[in-house]
Symmetry: C2
Subunit: 578 residues, 2 copies
């Protein structure tokens, strides 16, 4: 058979929802079959969702997973299905099942287990040791999983050497800004080096801190992109691959023609598995190439934040969210994202002015709510604040007014938002950005109170870019211009400015990126051209505020290194970077 | 030489305090040298503290560690030193250096890396592949690290086969109740099976969630305990080992006498390293055997909680702590622990009565403060509560009074405690127990507000036992009898009782232990003899409240499985245990 029709299905799984994920898989099997797809592939751990974390330590969970695999097996007629799942014998494997016509043809075990960044796969899985290839309609196919494809001498190389003309690589690959370009370069190289068609199938959707961004990809044996799935949406990408071209290319490859010796590598055991009968014999006319939509770099981040917010809220069975609107840019951006994710009717803004709130701030919150079409509650906090000061009058006698009094106000706001949450079942979205969370310029149990931290991984300078992007993408002022232009302030004391405590954000953000994301030392960062005393002070603030971050709500990872399980530092820590 | 004098040093390291840890190591080298010790051994990663977590990803940190190793090397004259450290070439290893007379004799790389429970060693380290033994004064010694000793066919077996008469196993082994007995059984077996002296050197001290409990151990070649260090305290344990006995035992071992074939195993490369010159030639008279103090099982847990509280507070450079005293047993126990850890002058109690507080509760807090000799502040919350209700009157119009109003009160208390913390620099200790944290019977940002959760891993039934233990250990009523006897209540509404929402704690705690610590399924737990509907409800509460735990303060692990990095479950999780 010359053409094989492949379906790459990027589904939005929910961790632990074995029933729901299996139903979705079956729906897409039907859809693919209707499109005369020969082989349909689903993401890594599609049945369990990714990452299932310590659910994998529950014996009942493992048994339940097997039940749903059987359901998929018996549903797979007239099509071959590749699906990610856990395989449990004495050990647990991150696995891919190849299923055809009601039979489990074989199982591949992931060989490269990521255990860095957000990943903990050695906590659960054994390393796979075998490299089967699957023969379907006379076409040899290699299957491997996520991390496997990143290694030049990984299973793809051995599978190609064993005759595979197609590599299907199934993924749950978390998003960060710019990663898709990196994946494309790597996958193109892998296809070309092995003269093989590479199909990269990714998951889509939000799971706690992580976004899976879809964007499945197929490359031909010359490393040319031949199909691309939508980013941030479920999608079934159908691609017809031309096996004659692959064979032609191999017969004409420089290595064959020049009689060059192929480097010998120690190969894992390779076995050949026949995938029952041919799954379809209808000759197909190749489909036109699928074009992907494309985002600019800021629009891509915005879309990731919208998907992450939507999925966290809905997968945790909330409908509505509540956001404290200060009139500042952070809460304005979060409100805009929430409206795009959930609809204006599901977003409630709350303005909680104090005696230190400028009239401008109150007006700005009002204009924003109007622009977004959301409900706005106004709960002034002076009365409550005064009653705290009365209660504490004796204890605070003869002390200077300072941070304690500032934080009381922030915590009153936190308490009011949580009261609304408890009363009406609204999820509180927090509005702190990555720059603030990094240096601890935030009040624990105050503005940090809430269930989901939408822009926790967004540095302040990117908050500005995203806000301008939002306005320009709809061609009108959603986030008021005055909000974007005014000087940032927490408004917890008269005439407070962020720059009272911090350097300007265009200096702070590159320092933080160097220290937090790249682990550069103090001296290294100073050598980048920043004032040493500022670098020292900011590093000290980052280190000292680990305890606050440990108690913060989860938020959406959009950078190569987010706070959360991506960056694990002790609270008790006396190391000082010199 | 017949006798070798070994020093096992259990020091209290602080993560990241390279300077401080090195200074402490040097002090103990001096002390050991004065005691004519031949070989002195320090715990795993003694220079960095354990676990250094992502500090290990900072290039400057790795370089700094090397500097301090050099300092220790040049300090080691007239004694052999074994010390845990990181070894960095292209890869990073969890390593043990053997140093003698100003020279680094060799380095062992840990072969078994734990990556389960609280451990993440695959995140940082490569697996060691070689098994050197060290020859000192004609005596052959094997060195290995922590997890290595738990495997019957691990490095100890190969080192013994290569002639080692002593195995020094250095550790940073976290405590949980009853673990020391388990270690003793395992180490005795390891010594006997390999006919080798086994010295287990453990770290001591608190590090965030973890307690290292010291209790270093030495076993002779027949598996008899010959030395034991103090638990929960720094200690230098000196033990004289008789090498002639080891040799005698080996020559008379059943395997030799009966000519039994020794099972062949694939051995990692074994090398022999000479440790410069003999370190001491003074003939020694063996020291009398060192006897260990012993705790009963409840006293051991109490001591662990005292150490954990002391170290978290001091290592994070706090002096004083503040605790909300409700008159209930949880806060009473936490206050008693804090006084034992920090001294009465460093503990401040705060009673924050509301209209729902019983007169008994207020009196009980007063009596407790008196018994402990601590300062008590009284901050009634009715006024502040009323001002919140006023502020929310419109928003809450036509709603039923309920959880929202209850939580406002808890959060007022959290805000007041944090205000005192911010004003005076006192660390807030939270008072929630494991049973409450498990089912979410706690208010986020309310009673959960604080920096350290002393009894977070202590089930309620154990809270009672610890309270009685405290009273009986000092022979008088510290925690008032009436506090121990009264029915538990959150006192957030009239006549509230814990049993309104939860089964009695003697039913709840075994259900929680089965589900949280042992991952048993719903059916399994019901089959243990609990009412199915109760089991179902409790499991549902545990699952649903993962988001609260994610934002909780760190607390001291005392069970085999604590909340925190020991148990990693997704928040977004639709799995239901059947």
């Amino acid at each position: 058979m010359r053409y094989l029709r492949l379906g790459m299905v990027q589904i939005n799984c929910t961790v632990g929802d074995l029933e729901g994920n299996t139903t979705r898989i079956k729906q897409f099997i039907d859809e693919a079959r209707n499109l005369q797809v020969d082989v349909v592939a689903f993401p890594e751990l599609a049945i369990t969702g990714y990452p299932p974390e310590d659910l994998l330590l529950k014996p009942q969970f493992i048994k339940d997973c097997h039940t749903y695999l059987e359901e998929i097996v018996s549903y797979s007629h007239d099509i071959a299905v590749v699906v990610g799942l856990i395989d449990a014998g004495k050990n647990l494997y991150n696995a891919a099942a190849v299923i055809c016509n009601g039979k489990l043809a074989g199982i591949y075990h992931k060989m490269y287990l990521p255990n860095y960044g957000v990943f903990d796969e050695y906590r659960y899985f054994q390393v796979g040791t075998e490299c089967p290839v699957f023969c379907i309609n006379g076409i040899i196919m290699g299957i491997n999983i996520c991390e496997d494809i990143w290694y030049p001498d990984g299973p793809a190389a051995f599978q190609a050497q064993a005759g595979a003309g197609i590599i299907i690589n199934i993924n749950a690959s978390p998003y960060h800004a710019g990663k898709q370009d990196f994946r494309k370069r790597m996958l193109a190289t892998r296809a070309l080096d092995n003269e093989v068609i590479v199909c990269y199938v990714n998951m889509v959707g939000g799971q706690d801190e992580l976004i899976f961004d879809g964007g499945s990809l197929a490359f031909d044996e010359r490393g040319e992109l031949i199909a691309e799935g939508k980013q941030f949406e479920e999608d079934l990408v159908v691609v017809d691959v031309d096996m004659e071209k692959v064979l032609h290319s191999r017969l004409h490859s420089p290595m064959h023609r020049r009689g060059m010796p192929v480097p010998q590598r120690v190969s894992p055991p390779v076995s050949y598995i026949m995938v029952s009968e041919a799954v379809s014999t209808t000759p197909k006319r190749p489909l036109p190439l699928r074009k992907a939509q494309s985002y600019d770099s800021i629009g891509e981040v915005y879309a990731a934040l919208v998907l992450g917010t939507h999925d966290y809220v809905h997968k945790n069975r909330f409908e509505k969210v509540v956001i404290g609107l200060s009139g500042g840019i952070d809460s304005s951006l979060v409100a805009a994202i929430a409206v795009d994710a959930l609809g204006a009717e599901n977003v409630i803004g709350v303005a909680m002015p104090s005696q230190y709130s400028s009239p401008g701030s109150k007006a700005d919150a009002d204009v924003l709510a109007h622009n977004l079409g959301i409900r706005l509650l106004i709960l002034p906090i002076q009365g409550v604040f005064k009653s705290y000061l009365n209660t504490l009058a004796d204890a605070f006698q003869d002390t200077q007014t300072g941070v304690a009094e500032e934080n009381i106000q922030a915590r009153i706001r936190g308490n009011l938002l949580m009261a609304l949450s408890n009363k009406f079942g609204w999820l509180v979205l927090t509005t702190g950005n990555k720059s603030e969370i990094a240096v601890g310029y935030a009040t624990l149990y105050g503005d940090m109170a809430g269930g989901f931290a939408v822009i926790k991984d967004v540095p302040k300078t990117l908050v500005y870019q995203l806000s301008r992007h939002k306005n320009s993408s709809v061609g009108k002022e959603i986030i008021p211009r005055v909000v974007i232009d005014k000087e940032p302030s927490a408004e917890l004391r008269p005439d407070q400015r962020d720059t009272d405590s911090l350097p300007p954000y265009d200096i702070l953000d590159p320092i933080l990126e160097a220290y937090v994301e790249r682990d550069n030392s103090m001296q290294y960062i100073a050598d980048m051209g920043f004032e040493r005393v500022i670098v020292e002070k900011m590093i000290e603030m980052v280190d000292r505020n680990e305890y606050k971050r440990r108690q913060s709500a989860p938020g959406i990872k959009i950078t190569p290194r987010a706070f959360g399980k991506d960056r694990r530092l002790p609270i008790t820590n006396r190391y000082k970077s010199l």
